[in-house]
């Protein structure tokens, strides 16, 4: 992956192939900005998607729960880890079949909104992603439940 000079990361993470309009949501999910440079590309031409958003964050390395959250923003997001200016790892994010403790159930009378219990959601067929709450059995879309 070639990086334009101004956006070159030394040590950090590139989140690529975000659907257009989701860059801000991605920053929000990751609790950004914090220290270190961040570059955000919006409406970037992409051979595979037409247009895409892209986020590059210096000094950021993501753990599994954060990756699971990010993956919900769009199909086939890629996360590239850069060490000392070179790409050390590139992954296409997968949405797990079961999301544990990641989404909040939007059903106000769901038992998970009253008791201390980790939410469990099952991925449904198709895209945009939809998830079924294990407890109240309502279907929810991650946009509203993240």
């Amino acid at each position: 992956m070639s990086q334009p000079r101004d956006f070159r990361l030394t040590d950090g993470t590139v989140i690529d192939h975000l659907p257009v309009g989701t860059a801000a949501r991605a920053l929000e999910l990751l609790g950004l900005p914090r220290e270190g440079p961040i570059t955000v590309g919006i409406n970037i031409p992409s051979p595979s998607q037409g247009r895409k958003d892209i986020v590059r964050v210096e000094g950021l390395f993501l753990e599994k729960p954060e990756l699971d959250r990010l993956a919900l923003l769009g199909k086939h997001l890629t996360v590239t880890i850069v060490h000392e200016g070179t790409i050390s790892e590139k992954t296409v994010l997968d949405v797990p079949e079961r999301l544990i403790g990641i989404l909040t159930c939007r059903n106000p009378t769901c038992v998970t909104n009253a008791e201390e219990v980790q939410t469990v959601f099952f991925k449904q067929e198709g895209y945009p992603y939809r998830f079924k709450c294990e407890y109240c059995e309502r279907i929810t879309e991650p946009g509203e439940a993240l």
């Binding site: 038992v111 201390e116 309502r138």
Partner: protein, 338 residues
Amino acid sequence: MGGVGPRSYTSPLMAHDGHAGEAFRGRSVVSAEDFTKDEILALLDAARHYDRYQDDGPSFSGIEPSLQGRVLGLLFFEPSTRTRLSFESAMLRLGGKVLGFADAKISSFSKGETLVDTIRVVEGYCDAVVLRHPREGAARLAAEVASIPVLNGGDGSNQHPTQTFLDLYTIRQAAGTLDGLKVGFMGDLRYGRTVHSLTTALLHFDVDLKFIGPENLSLPKDLRDHLESQGRLGAEAESLADVGDLDVLYVTRIQQERFPDPMDYQRVRNAYRVDREALAPFGPELKILHPLPRVNEVATEVDDLPGALYFQQSRNGVTVRMALLDLILGGQAGGSVS
């Protein structure tokens, strides 16, 4: 279990399908969807044995007190008199005992204690619990934390599996089969959970599913999509007159709170009222079910028709719950009696 005296009873269930019956022992009942077709049929087969309670009256002859010494907890965090009394009746008729509360408002359990804590305390008092709770998913959660079986007596607007089982039992008892039937659901198709659960359970069988209701109370999108993807969405009509042949008509109540305008409610209520005139085209063979209580959806003049099954359906609630409790707690039908 230390039974009193010799028992020569052979379970009709064990003779039919031991494996499916075994599947109930010690198991929680949260949703009818957790059970396979074979398991549901095994339960319905076993339930036939308990029908005798309806014939034999208070002497209970023919039914072993197989749950003697067992205790069923009835945890009703919101009132539901019918469900509670029919579980209680089922347990008492099998020789067991019940304890619990009928309304969390008058119980100290509601005072800030979490459901999880309540379950952990109560499981020390009884062999199984029936839980009725206003929150969707309460029974699933309770079943996860409890070391004893949890039977869902209704979790908010979500599931009420024993209602589904008794509905299936009633249809099968009256029609002799669950296959080859045309079943119409009428009333509140959107919010009526009995409609959703029974529809889903009937997908196991060769049933033509039809739906009659006002447009603003039509099937929820997810269920509709599901039926459509399975090629099982039958006729949909706004009027009973337009739905074609039916073997079974399942009527549900349309609740006033679904209509902001009281005039709209009046109009819809009258349009979905079943009386002798509306039923005449279907002939005397039509079976009419209703989960009760009714308000005026089914005219009392219908009660005398041979197909009016709703009070029988209500009695069957005890029959089916007897079978379920016996299977789960390992009484007669579970085959543990020697």
